[in-house]
Symmetry: C2
């Protein structure tokens, strides 16, 4: 987070080298500039000059269009001058009446400087394998040869940093967040509709095909993702691969134990809890190994400041004597404690009540109600649910985004963590409230509710009751529909909408037309069509997996076949996600990561909670006697339950401690590799010092 | 732990430079060689040649005495040859019929090599403040000038490492542990009675005097301890200073709340728990700062292997291609799980039963018994206790030592942690069992026990009962006697015994005799008298403080004036400990440390437990009605208790998490200092690289 460059002062008018052409299939990033001109106004005459054909070099960019308002002109001039100031080259193409596409290319010389700078910072922060010598100095003559970007992802990441880092950190400070323009030195805002990197079609095709053919993914496959899409996405696939393999154990145990003891078996419950502890601990080791392998250890220390960060002032840092953006940490804490926390708690409370109400209605109509239109009324809650939750969800996303913005996190990682945690709270409530309500409310009080309803005259007889089987059925329903819905919203919907908008914009060509295209035209058409795709959101995929993990550890004691179902699902998920990234989404913005971020905490939390749910479900509902009154049975089991809960939670914490100590004692692969490098270093150094 | 030197081959016969004299007041370490010759055999004739006057240079050491057995000769030859092999100088003095004292001095050239080696390893491990350049090479001509030891403690530590490190790590491999000779390459064993450094009288006198005069200790005082006695001891004083200051808050709250609400106030209980969380969290920050200041960060990675370590084999490390001692970690785990753990559990169970029995007898005789000799019988349990526990304790210490040895830890820090944890388990059981028994057994069941005793005819009337006041009285008794006993055993007993043995050995001189002494003679007499002192055991002092912390957080809700009492005690303790180190104990062996080691875990454990004891005591005994039956009162409060326990423990864990997150967010002083150094480094490097 330390600024290593001063902003450069030369404006774009002074520079003559923008006319230099570049092979535009080498485009690094595409910036879509949306003039936000009202479409109705543009219907009569063309507002933008320029060509819809291949993008051309544009030496005179600030007279590129006329008829626009002053603020559009200003925004355009800002963007263009910032691009030139950091030494990037670009070509502009008109896409439609309101959009201009800027194809940005980073000259090798500029990139070499960025790569070198990044290597030095990495070296200083001991990010990967220790090196005695800092990276070799770039030669002024042959900079591009001495420090090449090692992977496409690194190249894209560094250029993206150059585009988005604030000017005081040496970047161009472009942003597509309208709120921060004016508050920070960022420019663009609402006029920048998108910044995305074009896909490498050849690589993507090869990748998807190769995965489809094989059962297992190798380490090389994960590395290939890292090279293509950066460490953050690669971590997701690495986690998914690890988690998929680890599911084999509970899947086997689940099948055997279900066959042997049936649902709610305490043996299965205990084994699942133990499994969850071990899996999380082992994953941590694996994650550390990846961080060493990919050189992202300690990376959070050197992460760039996001352009949306609003420092209260720029202070002269007493430590570094540099101009440093400053935002007092106590303010962030105050916002978190006094604004975010109460709002989140209030909303989750309302959400809980709403879901609880709908679930109650569902239980009522399915289990107690025997009046007219029983079959029809049974659908009412589902319709209510389908109508309410998505609306609620989309409103909540906006709120969460503005709350996270308001917290004003300096880095992308922190901002993303704050935002995704808020969404995840919502998602997991929706996923688990019904199950919690049924487990600890509806089943134990089944008779009581029934007799109250009968007394009040709502129902005439006590035909049905809520039983442990109801819980099992709901779990199965939630898991299966959840997985199907996810597949649909993630994969099929984007594919269809992309297709539709592509056709709408006249980008769809027949085979004959395609054959006639030049390579340039084909490239531009593809890049244009990728703009219609949604951005890839790796956190949505994590959320899905972590909630699945939650189903397994928290409630699968009710249905021990769940791990097997998840094993099958994840085998397909791994491939579907690869397909999604390459074919249905824009290319992900490469980001560094040294673990799976906040998701690790969520996994641990679910694992901890499982030490309460799994034993309680086993104690309450194992060997349930259907003919006996629920209330009686639960009352008999209550004392055992209370004692078991206290014991099992403490046993969990003890086991957790022991396992983490044991895994710490084992030297990890990452540690060994670092040790080897360190030793080489020592030996060389001591040899040089002439000591033995 | 990586060996950086090969053992040197030159034996002492080949070396002629031992004759070089050194000013023996410059002695670094004294090794006391005990021939273990039976005293009876020596009564008639002198077994050892040599002089009892000032130690002389001994060019022909292996003919220094005759009449000794072959194994004594062998041991002597081993010790002397090892000393010569590593390049140390020494002079030998005969102390009595069976003891030879070896005054060891490390020539500046040898020391400079050690200092330099240590600096390079520190630099490579990023132990303190980052430095761009490794330490400057020692110049062959003027080695002592280029890399001096910065503190007396560092000098002593490095020479001690040279004396005790195994030969494959380049040391002399001397040990006073008889069991390991033969199993390892260590020599000496039972023949080495002690290895200790002489005190610096001038410094010690100044230090003790300056502390006695002042109320508060400054940072400089702590640094002075570090310079004199090493980081491990300095950490103890730093902790004590910090803890002393932090006690002001609970002392104030305690006095006010005791005045306002009386004993067992829930307000005081909650505040104590919160205090304990904050104190531990803040101490961690402070400890990190000291580690940066003293350059001991990451030091555990580079700690030397202890000579007592028994590798199963010396393997060629696949990583470093060096000969490395190897002991499979799973063996240590197996020993821990299958031997140490069951034995410790069994012994603590027996101890618990014994203490419980004695406490029961105590309660019986004091509260229920009304037969003949009531006053006399009341002393029986105390006598039993005083007779049993010390015997039990001394046996346990031996067992704990051999168990820890058997676990075969490679470094001193790990070995000490394992050993002290075992002792601490014992000490805290002795400290707390009685209180736990009274809180949760005797008071609630007071009536029941009374009526059973009455029915069985043991007592005639139910005059007394065990009440919350009994608990308070016992807490006060335990804390006060504990502190007085500690002062006695730590300070007065060693002073008296040292005095006695000094007189016995004829070392005590009258003032007139002292005046006649040369400086040399005085020095030798003092060094000789320091041999009679016990070694300083910093862990015993830690144990005392941590148990005191335990009394405060676990039980002081019964007596809110406890923090005030501890504040007063610790004010004196801080000074007494300084006096003890300088005047009553041998000089501590300087050791590095980067925190207070296992004690931090014990503090955290007590803090955690307090979330159960403090609320339960408050709920059970706040506003106790003396006239109502205890069993009834407790039964009424039981449901509240159960719910409160579950809630308070979870509230504790949540608060703990929040506080540790909040303190993490605050940049620490240590971090800032490292950041500054790192930035300087970066700037220099980037300037050199020609980038901005």
């Amino acid at each position: 987070m330390v600024a290593l460059r001063k902003p450069q002062t030369n404006s774009y008018e002074e520079r003559g080298d923008n006319g230099d052409s570049f092979p535009f299939t080498a485009t690094d990033w595409v910036i879509v500039f949306n003039t936000r001109i009202n479409k109705k106004d543009t219907s009569s005459k063309t507002q933008l000059k320029g060509t819809q054909a291949a993008p051309s070099a544009t030496p005179n960019v600030d007279h590129f269009y006329d008829g626009a308002k002053a603020d559009v002109r200003k925004a355009w001039a800002d963007v263009v001058s910032r691009l030139l100031a950091v030494g990037l080259k670009f070509r502009v193409q008109k896409w439609d009446e309101i959009r201009l596409a800027i194809f940005v290319y980073c000259p090798e010389k500029v990139l070499a400087r960025e790569v070198y700078r990044s290597r030095v910072v990495d070296w200083l922060n001991d990010s990967g394998i220790s090196e005695l010598e800092p990276p070799a100095l770039p030669n002024a003559e042959s900079a591009e040869v001495s420090t090449p970007a090692t992977t496409p992802a690194e190249r894209l990441r560094l250029v993206h940093e150059l585009l988005t880092a604030p000017t005081y950190e040496g970047g161009a400070g472009l942003t597509s967040d309208a709120d921060v323009v004016g508050n920070t030195d960022a420019v663009g805002g609402k006029y920048i509709e998108a910044i995305y990197a074009p896909h490498d079609r050849e690589f993507a095709d090869k990748w998807v095909k190769s995965w489809a053919k094989r059962w297992l993914l190798s380490q090389q496959d994960i590395d290939a993702i890292r090279d293509y899409a950066g460490e953050k996405v690669a971590y997701y696939f690495a986690f998914l691969r690890f988690y998929l393999a680890s599911l084999i154990a509970p899947a086997l145990i689940g099948v055997l134990d279900y066959w042997w003891h049936g649902a709610f078996s305490p043996y299965y419950g205990v084994l699942t809890i133990v499994w969850s502890i071990i899996v999380i601990s082992l994953w941590n080791r694996q994650a550390e190994w990846y961080a060493t392998r990919w050189g992202t250890r300690n990376f959070s220390k050197i992460e760039k400041i996001r352009p949306e960060f609003r420092p209260t002032k720029i202070v002269i840092d007493p430590v570094t004597e540099e101009r440093t953006p400053y935002y007092p940490y106590y303010k962030r804490w105050a916002v978190k404690c006094l604004i975010t926390a109460p709002i989140t708690i209030a909303i989750t409370a309302v959400l809980t009540l709403v879901v609880l109400g709908i679930v109650s209605a569902d239980v009522y109509f399915h289990k107690f109600y025997d009046g007219p239109g029983k079959d029809l009324m049974g659908f009412l809650p589902t319709i209510l649910y389908g109508g309410c939750i998505p609306v609620f969800h989309s409103k909540y996303i906006k709120l969460a985004a503005s709350l996270s913005d308001y917290e004003n996190h300096p880095t992308d990682t922190q901002h993303a963590a704050s935002f995704t945690q808020k969404l995840f709270t919502f998602n997991s409530l929706v996923a688990f409230i019904a199950l919690f309500a049924e487990s600890y409310l509806f089943i134990p009080l089944s008779n009581a509710i029934g007799s109250v309803l009968q007394q009040k005259g709502f129902i005439s007889s006590m035909g049905f009751e809520v039983t442990p089987e109801t819980l099992q059925a709901r779990l199965i329903y939630l898991m299966i529909t959840g997985q199907v819905l996810n597949a649909a919203t993630e994969l099929i919907v984007p594919l269809l909408t992309t297709k539709a908008t592509t056709v709408m914009h006249g980008l769809h060509k027949s085979k004959a037309e395609k054959a006639k295209e030049t390579e340039e035209e084909r490239y531009v058409r593809r890049v244009r069509s990728e703009f219609e795709r949604p951005g890839y959101d790796v956190d949505a995929d994590y959320s899905e997996m972590v909630i699945q993990f939650g189903y397994i550890v928290l409630f699968s004691v009710a249905w021990p076949l769940a791990p097997l179902a998840c094993l099958v699902n994840n085998f397909l998920e791994l491939r579907a996600d690869a397909f999604k990234i390459c074919k249905a989404n824009r290319r992900p913005v490469p980001q560094r990561a040294d673990n799976i971020g906040p998701w690790l905490k969520n996994l641990t939390l679910f694992s901890w909670l499982s030490s309460l749910t799994a034993p309680s479900l086993s104690i309450l509902y194992y060997k349930w006697v259907p003919d006996e009154q629920a209330t009686n049975q639960v009352q008999q089991r209550l004392p055992t339950l209370l004692v078991a809960l206290i014991l099992s939670e403490h046993a969990y914490l003890l086991l957790h401690y022991l396992v983490s100590e044991a895994t710490k004692a084992l030297p990890s692969r990452g540690w060994e590799r670092r040790k080897r490098a360190e030793f080489e270093l020592k030996k060389r150094y001591l040899l040089r010092a002439g000591i033995d």
